[in-house]
C-alpha cells in the first residue's frame, strides 16, 4: 500500500524517475534565486523574465526544431536582452523598471506564441507554455543539473555583496564597486534558472517553482539561510508530491507540481509561525522583558 502509493511509480517507470531527478535539480537552483527575488522585491520580475525567454526559445525552435542547445541559447539571450533593455529604458527615461519590464515581457510573450505557431502545432505551443516534465531526456537532465551547479557556485561567490546590496545598497556603493556586476550576475542567474525550468515546466509555470516556495518560507524562517534551505526543501517536496498526484489522479504533471507548491504557500500564509494568520489569531501572553 505504502509502496504502491509512494515508491512504486518511481521504481516502475523511468520517466517518473527522470522527472523527479529533474525537479530536484531545479529545486536547488530555484530555491535561492526565488528567495533573493522575493527579498529584492522582484517577485513579479521573475514572472516577467519567464515570459521574456519565450521568443528566443521559439527562434531556436524555428531554426533547429526541438533542439535543446538552440532553444536554451535562444531563451537565455532573449531573457538577458529583455532584462538589459528594460533596465536601460528605466534608467534613461521617466518610466520605472516595473512598467518598462511589463511592456517588454507582454510583447515578448505575444511574439513568442506567434513564432511557435507559425512553425509548429498546438501541441508544440503547449510544450513551450507548460513544458513537459515527464519527457526529460538525458541531455535535458544534464543541462538542468549543470545550470543548478553553476548557480550554486556563482551564489557562493556573490552571496555577501548580493545580500549587502539588498539590505543597504548605499553602503555597498561606498565600500565597493561590486554592486553593479553583482546585480547583473544575479539577473543572469534568474534567466539561467528560468531557462532550466522552461524545459520541465514551460515559460508560464517555471517561475512557480521559484517563487511559491520562497513566499511560503517567508512565513516560517526569520533569517535568509533558513529561507533558502526551506525553499529548496519545499520545492523538492512539491516536485515529489506533484508527480505522485499526477500519476495517481491522472493529472498533468507540471501543473500538479505547481499546485502542490501553491498549497504549501497557502498553508504557510494561514499557519506560518512568522506572521501567518493563525499566529495572529491565537493570542499569546506577552513576555516580561
Amino acid at each position: 500500500m505504502f509502496y504502491d502509493a509512494l515508491i512504486g511509480p518511481f521504481a516502475e517507470f523511468e520517466f517518473m524517475r527522470r522527472a523527479l531527478a529533474g525537479v530536484v535539480a531545479l529545486a536547488f537552483g530555484a530555491g535561492p534565486v526565488g528567495v533573493l527575488l522575493m527579498l529584492r522585491r522582484m517577485s513579479l520580475m521573475g514572472d516577467a523574465m519567464a515570459h521574456a525567454i519565450l521568443p528566443g526559445a521559439a527562434l531556436g525552435f524555428m531554426v533547429a526544431g526541438f533542439n535543446l542547445f538552440a532553444m536554451t541559447l535562444g531563451g537565455f539571450i532573449a531573457g538577458i536582452v529583455v532584462a538589459v533593455l528594460a533596465g536601460l529604458v528605466a534608467r534613461t527615461t521617466q518610466l520605472r523598471e516595473d512598467a518598462s519590464l511589463a511592456a517588454f515581457f507582454i510583447v515578448s510573450l505575444a511574439l513568442g506564441v506567434t513564432l511557435v505557431s507559425v512553425r509548429g502545432t498546438n501541441v508544440d505551443l503547449m510544450h513551450f507554455l507548460f513544458g513537459n516534465v515527464l519527457a526529460l531526456d538525458n541531455a535535458t537532465l544534464m543541462l538542468v543539473a549543470a545550470i543548478t551547479t553553476i548557480s550554486l557556485l556563482v551564489f557562493a561567490v556573490i552571496w555577501r555583496p548580493l545580500v549587502m546590496e539588498c539590505v543597504d545598497p548605499a553602503f555597498l556603493r561606498t565600500v565597493s564597486r561590486a554592486g553593479g556586476p553583482v546585480h547583473m550576475a544575479f539577473l543572469a542567474l534568474v534567466v539561467l534558472n528560468l531557462v532550466a525550468g522552461f524545459q520541465a515546466l514551460g515559460t508560464l509555470l517555471s517561475v512557480g517553482l521559484m517563487m511559491l516556495p520562497a513566499v511560503a518560507m517567508r512565513f516560517w524562517a526569520r533569517d535568509i539561510a533558513g529561507m533558502v534551505g526551506g525553499a529548496i526543501a519545499i520545492a523538492v517536496a512539491s516536485g515529489l508530491a506533484g508527480l505522485l498526484l499526477s500519476f495517481h489522479a491522472n493529472l498533468p504533471a507540471g501543473p500538479a507540481i505547481i499546485l502542490v507548491a501553491g498549497a504549501f504557500c497557502l498553508g504557510s500564509i494561514l499557519l506560518g509561525r512568522v506572521g501567518g494568520y493563525a499566529s495572529r489569531l491565537i493570542p499569546r501572553t506577552h513576555l516580561e522583558g
Partner: protein
C-alpha cells in the same frame, strides 16, 4: 598640519543648478569639522561629492593620499531595507568588508571587534535581533557600530542625530570625540548649534555658497546665520549660466 581634503573652486549640483557653489578651502588631517546650514544649503551634496557619488559640475576635490575606501560615510536617511531578514550582528559585520571582502572569514579577532563595537554603542545583548525590530535611535547606534568597524581615516556623518533622543546623542557624540582623539578626520552635518559650539572646534557655514569657515565661535555668529538663511531662500529656476569661472 597637512590637509587631508581640499576643495578647489568646487561646484556640485543637479541639472546644472549648483547646490554647492565655488567652494574653496582645506580640511586638516585630524580635524573635527561641523558643516552647518539651512535645509537645502548643500551639506548632503557636498558629502556626496567628497564620497565621489556625484561628479563636480566644475572645480575639484583633492583627497590628499586618501582613497575613496578610506572614508566611512553615514548618509542622512540610510536607505536600509528594514524588512530584510538579517540580524543586527550581521549588519554591523558589514563594516569588516574592507578586510573580509568576498570570501575572507570572520576571525575570532573580528568577532571580538564586533562585540567591542556593539558594547561601545550600548547594544550588547541585541546581537541576534532582526533589524526590523529596532527603533530609529537603536538603528543609529547600529550604524555607528558599523562605522567603528570600518576603521576609516576619515568619517563623514550626514545629520547623524536626527530623530534620536538626548541620551543616544550624548553616547554617539562620545564616539565622535573618541575618533577625534584617535586623530581621525571627522566631518559632520548638524543642525544643533549648541552641540556644534560645545563639541566641534571648526565649522563651515554653508548656504550653497560658503558663508564662513573657521573656528566655530567666529563662524556661528548671529550675523552669519542670518546671511546664510537669506542666501538659501534665493533659488532661480531660470538662472543664467554662471560667469564666475569666465571672469
Amino acid at each position: 598640519m597637512s590637509a587631508v581634503l581640499e576643495f578647489r573652486n568646487l561646484t556640485l549640483g543637479y541639472d546644472r543648478h549648483p547646490a554647492v557653489h565655488h567652494l574653496n578651502g582645506k580640511v586638516d588631517a585630524g580635524a573635527l569639522l561641523a558643516v552647518v546650514g539651512p535645509n537645502g544649503a548643500g551639506k548632503s551634496t557636498l558629502f556626496k561629492g567628497i564620497l565621489g557619488l556625484i561628479p563636480p559640475l566644475s572645480g575639484g576635490i583633492d583627497l590628499a593620499g586618501l582613497r575613496q575606501r578610506d572614508i566611512a560615510y553615514l548618509p542622512q536617511a540610510a536607505d536600509i531595507d528594514r524588512s530584510f531578514p538579517i540580524s543586527l550582528y550581521d549588519l554591523v559585520a558589514m563594516g569588516l568588508w574592507r578586510n573580509a571582502g568576498l570570501f575572507g572569514s570572520i576571525s575570532r579577532a573580528d568577532r571580538t571587534r564586533i562585540e567591542t563595537a556593539l558594547e561601545a554603542v550600548g547594544l550588547t545583548g541585541f546581537e541576534q535581533r532582526a533589524i526590523g525590530t529596532l527603533s530609529p535611535g537603536q538603528m543609529q547606534r547600529v550604524l555607528f557600530a558599523r562605522l567603528l568597524l570600518q576603521d576609516a581615516r576619515m568619517i563623514v556623518l550626514d545629520e547623524p542625530f536626527n530623530a534620536v533622543d538626548a541620551k543616544t546623542v550624548s553616547d554617539l557624540v562620545a564616539l565622535v570625540q573618541r575618533w577625534h582623539g584617535e586623530k581621525r578626520t571627522v566631518i559632520a552635518a548638524l543642525h544643533d548649534l549648541d552641540l556644534v559650539r560645545n563639541t566641534f572646534p571648526d565649522a563651515l557655514l554653508l548656504a550653497r555658497e560658503p558663508v564662513a569657515w573657521g573656528a566655530t565661535q567666529t563662524v556661528l555668529t548671529a550675523e552669519n546665520l542670518l546671511k546664510a538663511r537669506r542666501m538659501c531662500e534665493a533659488f532661480d529656476e531660470h538662472a543664467d549660466a554662471c560667469r564666475v569661472d569666465a571672469a
